[in-house]
């Protein structure tokens, strides 16, 4: 059942929350009506049926979206979403971080194989963003490891719940929230896709089911990243009885994603070097959290 919950959260709550953000946040701030809440599903299904145009036919390109999608789902199976993660007994946070990395690699691969100047610029930006954003996740999780003595994400969450919040965990949570914006590819950090600069970057040559899978994977990625933050650093509710623990988790991630959506809508896009500079700051915050943890705070 936990399998079903985690996969379901990633596959269906992801686009749904995206739809909520588009309608309730983005459109409202824009003074627009906005599309229906389930528009992301309409989009996905429509894309799945659309013609798949290939400018550089290649087996690898054909599999890149599948790999991205599968990697995110596999990461979702390692992520605590209100309950002990279904595959929690088979992978720790290092495995999780690398699974997420696979998805990023698949995006870069897609961009590189297409070899369009825009997709190459996009892949290069994706890579650089990954290089500065991923360390934040790692450092925050290491902070939790130092506190809890375990590399397993569920144990970290449990420890945090039992022992109450500590300064280091709060600082780490803040750093992770600052990184969340980029992890889910929202403004001001949607630099790799940058529609008005490089027309979608790595995805410019993709259409139909390939694009649909990448988009769906990204909807799921929002849920996965938000879940890590919600489960480990905001442990409220994880010891509720079923189904209230899942409901509490859902509430937390919806709030997080809506916050992300708000930031998204009131910011222009930064440039890659500005974003890197920003994230070196965030990394510094995360490191402070880790030092605090080492000091026992």
């Amino acid at each position: 059942m936990t399998f079903a919950i985690n996969i379901g959260m990633a596959l269906f709550i992801g686009p749904l929350v995206a739809g909520i953000v588009r309608k309730m946040v983005r459109a409202r701030v824009h003074s627009r009506q906005g599309p229906p809440i389930i528009q992301p599903f309409y989009d996905l299904f429509k894309l799945l049926g659309k013609e798949d145009l290939e400018s550089s036919p290649s087996l690898l390109l054909r599999y890149a979206p599948l790999v991205a999608f599968a990697a995110i789902l596999a990461a979702a199976l390692l992520t605590p979403m209100g309950l002990r993660p279904p595959l929690g007994g088979y992978g720790d946070m290092i495995v999780f971080a690398y699974l997420i990395t696979i998805a990023a690699v698949a995006v870069m691969m897609a961009g590189l194989i297409c070899a369009s100047p825009y997709s190459m610029v996009g892949a290069s930006r994706e890579l650089m963003m990954h290089l500065v954003v991923e360390p934040v996740l790692i450092i925050c999780l290491v902070t939790a490891t130092i506190k809890s003595g375990s590399l397993l994400m569920w144990d970290m969450a449990g420890w945090n719940y039992v022992n109450g919040l500590s300064i280091s965990m709060v600082v780490a949570g803040i750093a992770l929230f600052l990184a969340l914006q980029a992890q889910v590819g929202k403004l001001p950090f949607d630099i790799p896709e940058a529609e008005t600069e490089i027309m979608g970057g790595p995805f410019i040559e993709l259409s139909g089911p390939k694009l649909a899978l990448f988009q769906w994977a990204f909807f799921a990625r929002q849920i996965v990243y938000a879940s890590v933050l919600a489960a480990i650093f905001i442990p409220w509710g994880i010891k509720f009885i079923f189904p209230w623990n899942v409901a509490a988790h859902l509430l937390k991630i919806i709030v997080l994603i809506v916050l992300v959506g708000l930031i998204d809508v009131v910011n222009p896009r930064l440039k890659i070097n500005q974003a890197m500079k920003y994230f070196f700051g965030v990394i510094a915050v995360a490191l402070i959290a880790m030092v605090l943890a080492l000091l026992g705070l």
Binding site: S31, P117, Y118, V121, I191, P268, R269, K271
Partner: protein, 553 residues
């Protein structure tokens, strides 16, 4: 110093090189000089007197005088004088010395004159073709009188304009012709190394419409304003206004004061709408769609207002030679005031929010640097020039319509970057609101259109210019027989400003390219004055006179 005195000083300097000298009122000077002295006179005007190069123009006068008339236009902004520098070259040797080496701003227009009239600028540093299509025959020059306006040369395959290759180690990132943030087809060939732009080349004029040709071969004086207004879909009124002013000056027609005020009000309304439109697009370019949505919402009542006044949201169709066709009736005044107050309030909120938005500032500040000297050398105009510290504004420098009676401020910033250009436009939006209010208050009663009884004599010439939202719109009309201009030359502001884009891009990040291009508020339609393409058949066709008259847009 007035035009006559300026002419005298040129005469003193060059003696009998100046063949003919006449002043058309205090603000316009016509000089005819010998071809061999062209470069030295141009240099004298540009370097010694500080005149700004505007445009040049070629006229086929072989029927009348057996010669080509090459005209270079300069503007002496401090002294409020336009200088028209004529040179005649024989048809047996259609060549003229290029002034581009000493006056770089002439780069494009000399190439255009070569393409259109076939007079070769000798010594031009970049002799590639500019405006005609890649497959246009080498020996057909559209603006010669013996080339029919509906000529359709056979299409050719495998011909392309030679473009620059990227420097070693860099690669091309094509921005255009079809690109999300370019509303019209233009091709910026951007050379990048990593994310850094190390150079650029430009190819435009994909949709050349041949409007100038139509104006001097198929239309009448009073038909031209309507096609002139269609040169641009955003700021069409400036073109029709500018054209009408040129004809009125050439023919000595006095526009009634109320007509002038109405023109002023429409021009300023157009400026507000255009600046708001630009702000929205600029926001969209840097990914800030909230600005786009909110600003365009702000702009909507204004569009409604224009419809209320003219019957159209855009392309008002109000100008005719001699005045305007529609009055702004007293009952509309309240609507105008209400809309303006509304926009002013919202604009103020926006204006206060911008300096505090660090991400926005990070994108605008220090990007797209156009140093003052480069802007001057390349002939930048409008907010592009004023953002680079050049205090030029046609409304003040060469007053027209009712501007000499209104309070117009020049908004000049010397940041030279995208932010400076943005601030210029923001300030001007508020200024425009105030100008309209003042004009409404002070507008006299009376006629809106002059009575024109006599036919306009042939062989007269005059300049008409308007400060469009993007800068100086410049029209020159040489009157002709058959109730139509013999030559009608149009220079849209983007034509001048586009030449400043490559130096802006240099050294910027690839991410800055769209906003750099966007920061001049490019209007490629104006620049191209394009042909109409029938999308369904893919055929390029130029409308005939009858079709133009009967066609409903």
């Amino acid at each position: 110093m007035n035009a006559q005195q300026l002419g005298d000083s040129v005469k003193q300097q060059f003696g009998d090189k100046v063949v003919e000298l006449s002043a058309l009122g205090p603000n316009q000077l016509c000089l005819t000089i010998t071809p061999d002295s062209l470069v030295s006179v141009a240099e004298y005007l540009n370097k010694d007197l500080g005149c700004r190069f505007v445009i040049n123009s070629g006229t086929d006068r072989r029927r009348q005088r057996g010669k080509f008339l090459i005209t270079h236009f300069f503007a002496h902004d401090e002294e409020k004088i336009y200088i028209t520098l004529h040179t005649e070259v024989g048809e047996d040797q259609p060549e003229v010395d290029s002034i581009t080496p000493s006056v770089p701003a002439a780069n494009w227009s000399e190439r255009e004159t070569r393409d259109m009239v076939g007079v070769v600028p000798v010594g031009h540093p970049d002799p590639r073709r500019l405006v005609v299509a890649d497959d246009w025959p080498e020996d057909v020059f559209p603006l010669r009188w013996d080339v029919p306006h509906d000529l359709k040369p056979p299409p050719a395959e495998g011909v392309a304009m030679p473009l620059l290759d990227p420097p070693e180690g860099a690669s091309v990132v094509p921005i255009g012709p079809y690109f999300p943030v370019l509303e019209e087809p233009e091709y910026f060939r951007v050379f990048v190394e990593g994310e850094e732009v190390v150079g650029a080349d430009y190819r435009g004029f994909y949709n050349h419409r041949g409007i100038e040709k139509l104006g001097s071969s198929a239309l009448t004086y009073n038909q031209v304003p309507f096609i002139a207004e269609r040169i641009c879909g955003i700021c069409g009124f400036v073109h029709s206004c500018s054209y009408c002013q040129a004809v009125e000056r050439a023919a000595g027609i006095e526009v009634p004061p109320r007509g002038e005020y109405i023109r002023t009000i429409m021009l300023e309304l157009e400026r507000i709408h255009s600046h708001l439109l630009w702000l929205g697009i600029a926001g969209h370019i840097i990914g800030f769609d909230t600005i786009l949505m909110q600003v365009w919402r702000m702009r909507e009542p204004l569009m409604w207002l224009c419809e209320r006044i003219s019957g159209n949201r855009k392309t008002y169709g109000m100008n005719l030679v001699g005045g305007v066709r529609r009055d702004i009736e007293p009952e509309i005044h309240d609507d105008v005031r209400r809309v303006l107050t509304d926009i002013e309030r919202q604009w103020q909120e926006l204006y206060n929010a911008i300096p505090g938005d660090t991400t926005l500032m990070a994108r605008l500040q220090g990007t797209g640097i156009l140093p003052t000297e480069v802007a001057r050398a390349r002939g930048a105009v409008g907010p592009t020039a004023r953002g680079s510290g050049l205090p030029i504004d046609v409304r003040v420098d060469h007053p027209y319509a009712a501007y000499d009676r209104l309070d117009v401020k020049k908004r000049v910033y010397d940041g030279c970057d995208n932010l400076a250009r943005t601030l210029v436009r923001l300030d001007e939006t508020l200024d425009s609101i105030n100008i309209i209010r003042q004009a409404l208050r002070e507008m006299p009663e009376g006629e809106i259109m002059a009575q024109i009884d006599e036919e306009i004599p042939a062989g007269q010439q005059a300049v008409g210019s308007v400060e469009a939202p993007r800068g100086e719109v410049f029209h020159w009309v040489l009157t002709g027989p058959e109730n139509r201009p013999e030559r009608w030359r149009v220079r849209a502001p983007t034509y001048a400003n586009l030449q400043s884009v490559p130096p802006m891009l240099q050294g910027d990040a690839l991410a800055d390219v769209p906003i750099d291009i966007g920061s001049i508020d490019p209007c490629f339609a104006c620049t191209d004055r394009m042909e109409v393409v029938d999308v369904s058949s893919g055929q390029v066709r130029v409308y005939t006179q009858d079709e133009l008259l009967n066609k409903k847009y």
